[in-house]
């Protein structure tokens, strides 16, 4: 066979690798059909999860200033008294309102505050959900402090809480993520060869389903195999690569590594082809870690048609929020990055005409103690429920959903799990996610598969979408 073009060459490579594990694919298709949606959407929608690793102290992200309507016990003065040296000066806060109450956002969240305030309550492009976190079932303070309560496993442990947030399974040890399971639920509606879930933040359990295995993209890296020309020798070598992807000598781990390699080669081939026709984005992104990731996501969204995708779930991340010390400085470095990158991304979705079709949301391990910890520079320790942002044209923004905890310690706050301002979540991660998944298009009957604990929570889902 004569190979004329790079594209033909790639097709040969893809066909070779496509033969890997054909039998298992058939098996998976039958499983997928069992999960088929009742009806398939024809529009495009995407969810973008930004995971803030380390446990963002949202006590310094959303500060109640004067909230007589929803919680008369909260005030800037109460916050400042407990926070001590970590208290942000009131004058520097970005003023926002909700339900007739006034709040402040961290001074470095300028762009998010602007998007929140765009158009006023219910029409802003950013909403906030307050005190959301891991829960197996609703939990009051007296239940938590009493015997026999069902409590999330390994509270306050980074790894466990990250996993429970990403799996939406507070019992712990979940092995699939809710992004992956949501993709499982919608997979029957997709004919794209490119995975519905795409991570620009490496392997994350959020992105893995029972059937769904994510594509990964390292932002800024050259995609695809290097070193293969169209010479006969190189074509033969590429064929040999494909042959070796089927050789594992019965070692399970070799087989797993082969499948990951085959996925990587196939996915990068498909994405390279699609990105070949990508429009040039005019929106400027900050050259930060999160900025580059969200820019990569915007590029992939721009070629959604070439990829044949009408539903996509993305995973991005930023680390460094484990502020046991130097919290003020760390936030001053990281929060502008979050705000500016998210703002650029929203602008890019406007440019691409999909601002009403893309919803971006944040998650983190947990929030942190309201009461500071001592040292040369002040920090905070691991806590529980936290506040998060939801951004997009479809978001009923300019509003706070859920309940802001009473900013007091121990017995003085019905929300404090112990003595340091550790908020027992009043909205579960399942409820938060279920609103997102419902908007995404999951059948109501599928929600229990995606969020196994959702049935433990009664009442309407938070209505930010």
């Amino acid at each position: 066979m004569r190979i004329n073009t790079r594209r033909d060459f790639l097709k040969i490579g893809l066909r070779t690798f496509g033969s890997l594990g054909a039998a298992s694919v058939v098996g998976k298709l039958s499983q997928v059909n069992a999960l088929a949606q009742n009806s398939c959407p024809t529009d495009y929608k995407a969810l973008v999860c930004i995971f803030l690793f380390g446990g963002l102290d949202t006590n310094n992200v959303l500060i109640p200033i004067n909230t007589p309507t929803t919680n008369a016990n909260n005030s800037y003065a109460n916050y400042a008294k407990i926070r001590g040296g970590l208290a942000l000066p009131q004058a520097n806060l970005r003023q926002i309102n909700a339900n007739g109450d006034s709040y402040g956002l961290h001074p470095n969240l300028t762009e998010l505050a602007n998007l929140y305030n765009t158009g006023g309550t219910g029409t802003g492009k950013v909403a906030i959900i307050a005190n959301v976190g891991t829960l197996v079932r609703p939990l009051t303070k007296s239940q938590y402090q009493g015997p026999g309560a069902t409590v999330p496993s390994n509270l306050f442990s980074h790894l466990d809480q990250q996993t429970e947030i990403q799996t939406s399974y507070a019992q712990g040890n979940g092995t699939t993520g809710w992004g992956g399971r949501l993709a499982d639920a919608m997979q029957s509606c997709s004919s794209s060869k490119f995975p519905m879930v795409i991570s620009v933040g490496g392997n994350a359990v959020f992105t893995t389903g029972s059937q769904t295995s994510p594509a990964t993209v390292t932002a800024g890296q050259v995609l695809g195999l290097q070193g293969f020309s169209t010479s006969a020798a190189n074509v033969a070598r590429l064929n040999a690569v494909g042959n070796l992807l089927n050789f594992d000598n019965s070692f399970t781990m070799v087989s797993a590594d082969n499948q990951i390699g085959a996925n990587g080669i196939n996915q990068s081939g498909l994405l390279n082809q699609a990105l070949g026709g990508a429009p040039t984005l005019k929106t400027a992104f900050p050259s930060t870690s999160l900025g580059v990731q969200l820019q990569q996501i915007a590029k992939i969204i721009s070629v959604r048609s070439a990829l044949g995708a009408n539903r996509q779930i993305f995973f991005a991340y930023l680390g460094g929020f484990d502020t046991h010390d130097a919290e003020l400085n760390t936030h001053a470095t990281l929060l502008p990055q979050v705000s500016q990158a998210m703002n650029a991304f929203y602008t890019a979705t406007q440019e691409l005409g999909v601002d009403n079709n893309v919803v971006t949301f944040t998650e983190s391990d947990f929030s942190r103690t309201l009461q500071p910890s001592g040292g040369a520079t002040l920090g905070t320790d691991h806590a529980w429920g936290s506040h998060h942002f939801i951004m997009g044209g479809a978001v009923k923004g300019g509003n706070i959903y859920g309940q802001v905890p009473t900013q007091a310690l121990a017995a003085a706050s019905p929300d404090d799990a112990n003595t340091r301002g550790v908020w027992i979540p009043t909205t579960s991660l399942d409820q938060y996610g279920a609103t997102l998944a419902t908007w995404y298009g999951a059948d109501p009957g599928k929600l229990a598969t995606v969020f196994p604990n959702l049935g433990n929570f009664s009442g309407p889902l938070p209505a930010f979408l």
Binding site: G224, F251, S268, Q371
Partner: protein, 708 residues
């Protein structure tokens, strides 16, 4: 009663005269007294005078009052002792004239215990720690004593053919062959003379290690095999190699005073040491420990801050875990990373409490983990089948108090203050008035009394952690995962944790002994024999740093301190010395997504950073190594392979020797052949091209990525 006295009494009782006239009928016996070992025999002779014919009859009897068997004697005077010593230990032999039985003679036999004989010793190789040695043979009696080397062991007599002794093999005895003897007690105490010995350690007598086994061993005990080290291990055996490694002088991490501020040179030196250093095992262990007791350049982003911690890991790699825990705890780099340095006592004015960071992570990550473990690393469960936490949030806050009141080492000439200026040289120092001196309740309800001060509190707390039964299985399982395999069996973990708990000399936490136990364990060595089926769920993925180093070593690379390997590792998701968090690049219980493992559930820590896109980058890294140019700091030597470019069977075998422990599965050979057959010509360039194509396929294969 003495023998002489017995004999006189006996003769008197029989009414015999000791002297008779020469001319009277007479029977004499020779000898009249003899010592005979049970298990041997003795032929007596008789002489008859004054009677014809001169035929005689023989018989044996025990002295009056004795019990047991006297043995037997035949018509020719051949005496065979009984198999068991009769009471009194003496037998009377009588010979009498057949014509006149009243004419007789007697002899006295003093029986000796048998001469012991050792047929075999089991096991032939004594494992590290305590076990039972069984001596099989014959002639053993109650009271027999077994010696191993020169040491008399407390011996259990099982039967005349079996003795048991408890033995305790210590690390420094590994690889030594000890003679084994058995000494029976008096009467006739004697000792075995067979040259039987027992090897302390495993089956690796010098000269018996195959190429496959030696090369595979070096993927576990070193940064991968190279030709010279593989040959050396074959020549001296595993245990002597390990002994050499434990005693090898450490490679040099750049001297702090001479090190530029930035970490680039320190990172490059790591790769130089790993590729060429003679202290391979120390480096593997130090790197493993660095990945358990994590500090990161994300925070410690300069040489003066990070290097002392790296030196500590190297120093303590073969030391005791308790010492390591203390050195880490008081290290200012760790103190800065996890906020133990300048951790303040609760302040009611400013409303702060002690920082919980170090308290939490020393428990969760550095020593015991979240849940109670059995010695084999499996979870202990409560009556409801749930894991049992090792601590609560309250415990964390109690430990947080323990870790208050320490600050940076006081600089020379400076005065100690509550918060000393930053200084990473030496250990943190206490500032007692900043220490929480109240009572604290630690693990397992251990109470630290009030008023002890920071140093005494710290010692008690570290002892409290170190003696927790979780430490052995928690740490050893991770070390197994980092050196040998991702999914060790519970029995393997238990054996190694047993050595952690007691290295054979009663010492807990001996890391050198743990390393030897990990590497010499039957489960680690199970894949050494290529003819036997390897466990399908064995092995582990080479993490990017190890992948690069093992590839360099196998390719005979010359690497120096200008090497660019850090950049390649970073590209693959593993920036040396910069794990993203204290949870490292990947976690020890990362489960490979089931979509990749089918019906098997497999742990694969390194798979956490083996994303599909990183897998492609690994191919491209191989492309750079084989077809590209890494620069003057890392020069691979492809010449030995290119020289075989016109003899492809030999080329394939050379690649198998370098990367696959000498094994060349047909599918691998076929794939290389597919590529090399498409390259025509016999020029030097063609030869090299064939070598490169085959090497690219070998290095990029999952079969190499996953060591097994």
């Amino acid at each position: 009663m003495g023998i002489r006295a017995v004999r006189l009494a006996l003769f008197a009782a029989l009414g015999l005269a000791s002297v008779q006239a020469q001319t009277t009928p007479n029977v004499t016996i020779a000898p009249t007294a003899i010592n005979v070992y049970i298990g041997t025999y003795y032929r007596f002779t008789a002489a008859v005078t004054g009677i014809t014919p001169t035929t005689v009859g023989w018989s044996v009897a025990l002295p009056p009052g004795a019990t047991g068997s006297p043995g037997t004697i035949d018509t020719g005077g051949l005496y065979v002792p009984p198999s068991v010593m009769p009471s009194g230990g003496q037998v009377i032999v009588q010979v009498a004239s057949n014509v006149n039985p009243a004419v007789l003679a007697l002899a006295l036999v003093n029986l000796y215990n048998p001469i012991p004989y050792i047929a075999s010793v089991s096991p032939a190789n004594v494992p590290l720690g305590s076990s039972t040695l069984t001596i099989n043979g014959s002639g053993f009696v109650q009271g027999a004593v077994v010696k191993v080397g020169t040491v008399a062991m407390p011996t259990t007599f099982v039967s005349s053919t079996v003795l048991n002794v408890p033995v305790t093999a210590t690390l420094d005895q590994m690889g030594t062959k000890f003679p084994v003897t058995v000494t029976n007690p008096d009467p006739g105490s004697s000792t075995t003379t067979q040259p039987i010995g027992v090897m302390y350690g495993s089956t690796d007598a010098p000269g018996t290690v195959s190429y496959s086994a030696a090369a595979r061993f070096l993927d576990q005990a070193a940064w991968g095999p190279d030709a010279a080290t593989t040959a050396h291990v074959q020549s001296v055996g595993f245990l002597q190699y390990l002994g050499e490694q434990v005693n090898a002088p450490p490679s040099q991490i750049p001297d702090l005073a001479l090190t530029p501020y930035y970490l680039n040179g320190v990172q490059s030196r790591f790769f130089t040491n790993a590729v060429h250093g003679q202290d391979q095992l120390r480096q593997r262990l130090a790197f493993a420990l660095l990945n358990i007791l994590v500090v990161s350049g994300v925070q410690a982003n300069n040489a003066p801050q990070l290097v002392p911690y790296l030196q500590l890991m190297q120093k303590d790699a073969f030391g005791n875990f308790r010492q390591l825990l203390e050195d880490v705890t008081l290290n200012p780099t760790m103190g800065t990373y996890l906020n133990m340095v300048n951790n303040d006592i609760a302040n009611t004015t400013t409303g702060t409490l002690p920082n919980e960071n170090y308290a939490r992570e020393i428990l969760q990550l550095f020593s015991i983990g979240l849940n109670q473990l059995n010695q084999d690393g499996t979870l202990k469960l409560d009556a409801g089948g749930n894991p049992i936490p090792t601590y609560t949030q309250t415990t964390i806050q109690q430990f947080a108090k323990i870790f208050t009141g320490w600050t940076y080492p006081t600089k020379p000439g400076a005065t100690l203050s509550k918060h000393n200026p930053t200084n990473f040289i030496g250990q943190m120092v206490p500032f007692p008035s900043n220490h929480d001196n109240t009572t604290k309740t630690l693990l397992n309800a251990f109470v630290v009394p009030a008023g002890q001060g920071p140093a005494a509190d710290l010692k008690m707390a570290l002892d409290n952690i170190f003696t927790h039964p979780n430490v052995g299985p928690f740490i050893c399982k991770q070390l197994i995962q980092r050196l040998v395999m991702s999914n060790p069996s519970p029995a393997y973990v238990s054996r190694v944790a047993g050595v952690f708990n007691n290295d054979g000399t009663g010492v807990r936490g001996n890391l050198a002994a743990v390393a030897v136990a990990i590497l010499m364990d039957p489960e680690a060595r199970a894949g050494d024999d290529p003819s036997s089926a390897a466990p399908i769920n064995g092995g582990k993925l080479r993490e990017p740093i190890f992948f690069l180093i093992s590839t360099m070593r196998a390719l005979g690379a010359q690497v120096n301190d200008t090497n660019p390997l850090t950049g390649y590792a970073t590209n693959l998701g593993q920036q040396l010395y910069f794990p993203p968090t204290v949870f490292n690049y990947f976690v020890p219980d990362y489960t490979i997504p089931q979509s990749f493992t089918g019906s098997n559930t497999l742990i694969g820590p390194e798979f956490q950073i083996q994303s599909p896109s990183n897998a492609v980058l690994r191919y491209n890294t191989v492309n750079s190594i084989v077809y590209g140019n890494l620069g003057a700091g890392a020069v691979v030597n492809l010449t030995p392979f290119a020289n075989l470019g016109n003899n492809t069977p030999a080329l394939y075998q050379a690649i198998a020797n370098a990367f696959f422990y000498g094994q060349l599965p047909a599918a691998l050979q076929n794939a290389m052949q597919t590529a090399t057959n498409a390259i025509t010509g016999t020029t030097a360039a063609s030869m090299k091209a064939r070598a490169q194509a085959a090497l690219y396929l070998a290095l990029s294969s999952g079969y190499y990525n996953v060591e097994h």
